[in-house]
Symmetry: C2
DNA sequence: CGCCGCATTGACGTTCGTCAAGTCTAGTGG
DNA sequence: CCACTAGACTTGACGAACGTCAATGCGGCG
């Protein structure tokens, strides 16, 4: 609730290739810089937006880590995703001009605020931007299909293995280790995302550790046998 | 595999308000008619598109009923949605120019073929169309959040109750009964969508019937107590 | 240094999946 | 017109996986 306003430039952002389209000329890049005029800091535990709030902007994560979650009327809630640097959140708000989920920072974070009206206006001019927006939304739809497959048909070990592989792959794409990661979320949040109770998440971590597949020390995870995790997710594949 | 080509006009289509934006002037409507130049018939059991095929077009369903599903490498598959007249399918293909799921007709169907390149070009001119496309994609994202909540946190009875309420609500919006419906999909397909085995779906139907909440005769379902279904989905609410 | 939230682990219960037998129905062909 | 068949559906008995409840451990932050 303390929106810092710091002028920045996409054109010089090291996350450019993650959140912005490639192959634009100098003039187009400059126009995009205009859109992302403001950054906002979000403290750990604070919400970037909440269910019901008016939607005005998409947010590109510059630093930090978020979860998005929805709540059913009777209080249960479901984590719908974990987002890291270079990813865009807020797409849920477009359809009704109101956000339909909460976005909460799991560590101190900073986002680029992109007013959606400006995005729409500019993407009528710059077809590369238009295409990029469409792809971001389509990617989210495809990602959610994958989560539905996970929730609908996998057992606990498969879910957790898929989760770890996905996380580490995304972190690796950002220059982090392929085998070591620090979880920014609690067991309960992992469980909510995976459709499991926190105890089951904990037990499954312990099982993986017993089997020598990972080392787990609270939120610090080291993957010892990536292939073993892959085999758990996909028993058919003989790696 | 027998693409019928029949010229039609959105401007005179009775599903216009479902799949196309409102508030356009005559000239804009005419331009949209240009986009939807072709219809295609799909026989029951046939695929409109399959995972891996090149993506070129979105499809607006004119008549009939579809399921979309994805397959994990080891053969399991997950139904990701059921689509009816006025709904748009194919959004998953945008991100990689290839479809990532199968769309199969559950009864003889007819779709309007909308080449995506044309949609993008025209939506640069007609901001109402641009906005509409964004909303369709956002709506799909929000719908999938709801499915994640269902798969991640609901029990069998809650899932089936939510499923029935959702179906009947969408059918009602299309002028059908609020209380009676014919299921176009098998128990197995319902189960796949809801993350349950077909036997569990069948048992849960039987339980609802015993409790006097629905009458079930194979695929014909009559809802006797809508409020009871709502209470099952959302125990807190005292209707 | 002590507290509080998070994580782990164990014992037990519930829900749903599995396996199997049997029924219904729509469609086919005699 | 009716018998036959294949696929879909129902139902029961049983077991496995995961949830629930509860006790305990650990570590980070003030």
């Amino acid at each position: 609730m303390n929106p810092q306003t710091i002028k920045v430039a996409c054109s010089s952002c090291n996350l450019r290739e993650l959140c912005m389209p490639l192959g634009l000329n100098a003039g187009e890049l400059e126009q995009i810089d205009e859109i992302v005029g403001v950054r906002r800091k979000v403290k750990r535990g604070a919400a970037l937006f909440r269910n019901g709030e008016v939607f005005t902007s998409l947010f590109a994560i510059r630093t930090g880590f978020f979860k998005t979650s929805i709540a059913s009327e009777d209080g249960r809630d479901q984590v719908t995703g974990f987002q890291m640097a270079g990813e865009v959140i807020g797409l849920d708000g477009i359809v009704n001009d109101h956000h339909t989920c909460d976005a909460v920072a799991l560590e101190d974070a900073e986002v680029c605020v992109m007013p959606f009206a400006d995005i729409e206006a500019l993407s009528r001019e710059v077809s590369g931007l238009q295409r990029h927006i469409h792809k971001i939304m389509s990617r989210e739809i495809v990602r959610e299909h994958g989560v539905m497959l996970l929730l609908g048909s996998m057992r606990a070990e498969e879910r957790l293995a898929a989760f770890l592989l996905n996380l580490v792959q995304r972190l690796h794409a950002r220059g982090f280790s392929q085998s070591e990661l620090i979880l920014r979320m609690t067991r309960e949040e992992i469980g909510s995302y995976l459709g499991l109770k926190l105890e089951t998440v904990s037990r499954t971590f312990s099982k993986f550790a017993e089997d020598g597949i990972v080392e787990v020390k609270q939120r610090h995870v080291r993957i010892l046998e990536t292939d073993a995790l892959r085999r758990i997710v996909n028993p058919q594949t003989l790696l």
